[in-house]
């Protein structure tokens, strides 16, 4: 719908600018979203490059004199209870947290798009079944089941966490995509495609899906931030990414007990996570504003 309205507007106003060009133009005007984008790029770069610059190895244990050292020139963010450099671990942890954030969103999206697209496009019985299932998944208390799944599924890897988060994260996407498909399938270009014998699958993936990208992208952007927090919460409870692999969440796991003597262990991973999530949320909000022509009448 969003895309359609803009196209009509273009035709009426004689503008040749494409929808995505307009989105980009509006997004550039959203100062906080642009700032967030810059911050995110910096964070991602730091997490990629940081470990190569750091003189310490990620799980390199310090000597006993270097345990729980407050921030200093040698260790800008201090050291943890095993004498490991916190800044180095923060870079590595960021890689893991961002990886989990992105991949769980992508996996959840894949499931959500498939379920939502088929339910919305075909409607009827298939729609009822798929949406019933979505309702059921929505009605299950997520946190306890996340915990059970992560304790039941074998392995301690990052991908397990991604899988577990994705299993309970696709329902919102499915509803969004279904909603888009329900309205878009009534459009004339879909009717036309059907009339000239384009296959259903081709209509779904080539004709309708690209037109429902806008809400999907917004949901995905907000989802990355949300899933970073999910991973952190799971890790904090001891069911997420397992040490010695660091993630922002499991770095906080032991911090609670050391907070009286080593508050720096609490500050840095939490702040890194908070800023990242805040940036994703602002970016998502900026994208929503930029993609919703209704707000720009």
């Amino acid at each position: 719908m969003a895309v359609e309205a803009t196209k009509i507007e273009e035709v009426l106003t004689g503008r040749v600018e494409t929808y995505w060009y307009l989105v980009g133009k509006r997004l550039r005007k959203h100062r906080l979203a642009m700032l967030s984008l810059v911050v995110l790029i910096l964070i991602i770069l730091a997490c990629i490059v940081g470990p190569y610059i750091s003189p310490y190895k990620v799980s390199e244990l310090g000597s006993t004199t270097e345990v729980l050292q407050p921030p200093s020139w040698k260790h800008p963010l201090g050291t943890d209870e095993l004498g490991r450099d916190v800044l180095t671990r923060l870079f590595y942890g960021g890689r893991i947290s961002l990886l989990v954030g992105f991949s769980s969103v992508v996996s959840a999206l894949l499931v959500g798009i498939i379920v939502g697209a088929y339910a919305g496009y075909f409607g009827g019985f298939l729609d009822t079944i798929l949406m019933r299932f979505t309702d059921i998944m929505f009605s299950i208390p997520v946190m306890p089941l996340l915990i059970v799944l992560s304790s039941v599924i074998p392995g301690a890897g990052v991908w397990k966490i991604v899988l577990v988060i994705a299993i309970f994260g696709w329902m919102t996407d499915a509803r969004i995509v279904r909603g888009m498909f329900l309205s878009l399938r009534e459009n004339e270009y879909v009717e036309a495609a059907r009339a000239i014998g384009v296959s259903n699958n081709r209509i779904i993936w080539r004709h309708i899906l690209p037109n429902s990208f806008a809400p999907i992208i917004v949901s995905a952007t907000l989802g990355v931030g949300g899933n970073i927090i999910y991973e952190a919460a799971l890790s904090y409870l001891g069911f997420g990414v397992m040490p010695p692999t660091p993630s922002w969440g499991n770095m906080l796991q032991n911090a609670q007990y050391a907070m009286a003597i080593a508050p720096w262990l609490v500050w840095s991973p939490g702040l890194a996570m908070f800023i990242t999530v805040l940036a994703f949320n602002y970016l998502g909000d900026g994208l929503r504003d930029a993609m919703d022509p209704k707000l720009y009448r």
């Binding site: 009426l12 106003t13 503008r15 720009y296």
Partner: protein, 333 residues
Amino acid sequence: MEREETLLDVRNLKTYFFTDDGVVKAVDGMSFTIRKGEVLGLVGESGCGKSVASLSIMQLVEPPGKIVEGEIIFKGEDLLKKTPEQMRKIRGSEIAMIFQEPMTSLNPVYTIGNQIMEAILIHQDLSEEEAKKRTIELLRLVGIPEPERRFNQYPHELSGGMRQRVMIAMAMSCNPDLLISDEATTALDVTIQAQILELMKDLQRKTGMAILFITHDLALVAEMAHSVAVAYTGKIVEYGDVYQIFKKPRHPYTYGLLSSVPSLKTEKTKTPLPAIEGMVPNPYKMPSGCHFNPRCPFATERCRKEMPELAEIEPGHLVRCFHPVAVEKEAVS
């Protein structure tokens, strides 16, 4: 037409929208007058500024829109110089307005009785019971059957035509001197449209109120209006009484509009319906000179450089064009 007292005199009205992408001059120097009891049809394509002009009269233009210049003289006083409170008292009592979308123009969570009574209670010194009596009278007046029962119904329980009748009842509640009808019948089925028009005409005759009748549909104007103003890109391009406009349109745009209305004759001769070439210009990039020049078959070099003034071409007939059309047209409908 005999000279009557001027009710509304809009002079050089400019309402601009200050958007992120630039300034849109939705209404750019419109002038027109309405005498007491007169029906003025304001016609044009969507985006010509006719709705914004009507909202400007009511001072209901929402940001980023702003009235930047002009005078709106109503009963001898400039509405733009009124305080918001004075303006509020005029809205709904002396000037009332009905809108295009009857489906969304009524508040879904209140009964229609409540919504009409509210307008009465705010402007008139009546008790609740008197207001209710008056509301039921009004419902009956606009032809709603079983008004006592309808009084307690919610908008969604009524059809589109009925809702528009409710809107009219609401507008009539304080016997306004001027009724602004902004595409009030556009969203309705043709038969319902005819009924609503008939109702408005009837009420106009009974009460002697003036109507600013805004539409894109020339056939409706021919039926309703005494005078016609044709708007294009925020300016009036032709202005005259209904006979002058329909019989002797002088602006190429008006001429084009009238030619693109299907009639029985075009049907018979199987000639294709002529359409106005091109499109309404991009509001951010208005053409230089006369705004109609890129679409105008008679455009000359001068038209591309200079904006013509609205000039009187015969008594009461004003045209904004350097090369007015000189052919007489057969009246539509």
